[in-house]
């Protein structure tokens, strides 16, 4: 019997390959800034969800989606997009799960960036 394992794509290869042409220090600083800002966005999203504040949820997720797509963080882009959509429709019923999924996506992405960085040295 063949077992098929479906793994979600974490990074967008085309974007990452171009970013890797930047100077190592510049890229390291950029990715460090992204991860720190993303962690702050995650805190802001959790607070907004606790307040039922759909407008802030949408705005913060939109910002995170934009920077994530520019840095090839595909999984985070998709997770942030799901929150943007939920905030736009006002349906925050699954908000907690969406934020947890985003947190998980950020952890995997941070790890993937570190592995790429270690591999390119």
């Amino acid at each position: 019997m063949t077992t098929l394992t479906l793994e979600a794509e974490v990074l967008q290869e085309e974007v990452i390959r171009e970013l890797e042409t930047l100077e190592a220090l510049v890229l390291s600083d950029l990715l460090g800034l992204y991860i720190r800002e993303a962690a702050m966005h995650l805190d802001a999203l959790s607070s907004a969800f606790d307040r039922d504040d759909a407008a802030t949820l949408g705005a913060v997720a939109h910002t995170l989606k934009g920077s994530s797509s520019s840095l090839g963080a595909l999984l985070v882009t998709q997770s942030a997009d799901a929150i943007v959509t939920a905030a736009r429709t006002g349906d925050l019923q699954d908000g907690f799960e969406l934020i947890e999924a985003l947190k998980h996506a950020l952890e995997i992405t941070d790890q993937a960036f570190r592995e790429r960085s270690a591999g390119s040295r």
Binding site: V15, L19, L22, L30, S67, S69
Partner: protein
């Protein structure tokens, strides 16, 4: 094109660029990705700052995020067109509606590009927009 003198006497022929985005990650990423082909003169974090820096620096190009504080691209694009008419304005959009993008193009933006494209695609779009920029009218008044 605005040529800038370098310390070694050579003239920097790269087109000059203003980047406006409220997200520090985007400003840093765009500056890093475009810095080889464009001379980044200034970085702005909102529409008001973008217009002020465009007036001050008169860049060849301005890359303007749609959603920013102080009115976003809706405010920044017409103000830049008014205060720096030779600047080629390109809008950086995320998932904004087509009607908003059309409105910005009508307000004077020459092109728009979506976040998530590679740095080289973005640089190509900016270079194409610069080529498509209407030529400055030549003053034919007799001396």
């Amino acid at each position: 094109m605005t040529a800038g003198p370098l310390d070694n006497g050579w003239v920097d022929q790269r087109p000059t660029l203003l980047i406006a985005d409220d997200d520090p990650v985007m400003r840093t990423a765009l500056e890093a990705q475009l810095g080889a082909e464009f001379r980044v003169l200034a970085l702005a974090a909102d529409a008001e700052e973008a217009a002020a820096l465009a007036a001050e620096h008169q860049p060849d190009l301005a890359l303007i995020d749609v959603q920013m504080p102080a009115g976003g691209a809706r405010t920044a694009v017409p103000e830049i067109v008014a205060c720096s008419p030779d600047t080629c304005v390109v809008v950086l959009s995320s998932d904004e509606s087509e009607s908003l993008v059309r409105e910005l193009l009508s307000a004077g933006a020459l092109a728009y590009v979506r976040k998530g494209v590679t740095g080289s695609m973005l640089a190509t779009t900016l270079a194409r927009a610069l080529k498509a920029r209407p030529a400055r009218p030549t003053d034919l008044t007799p001396a």
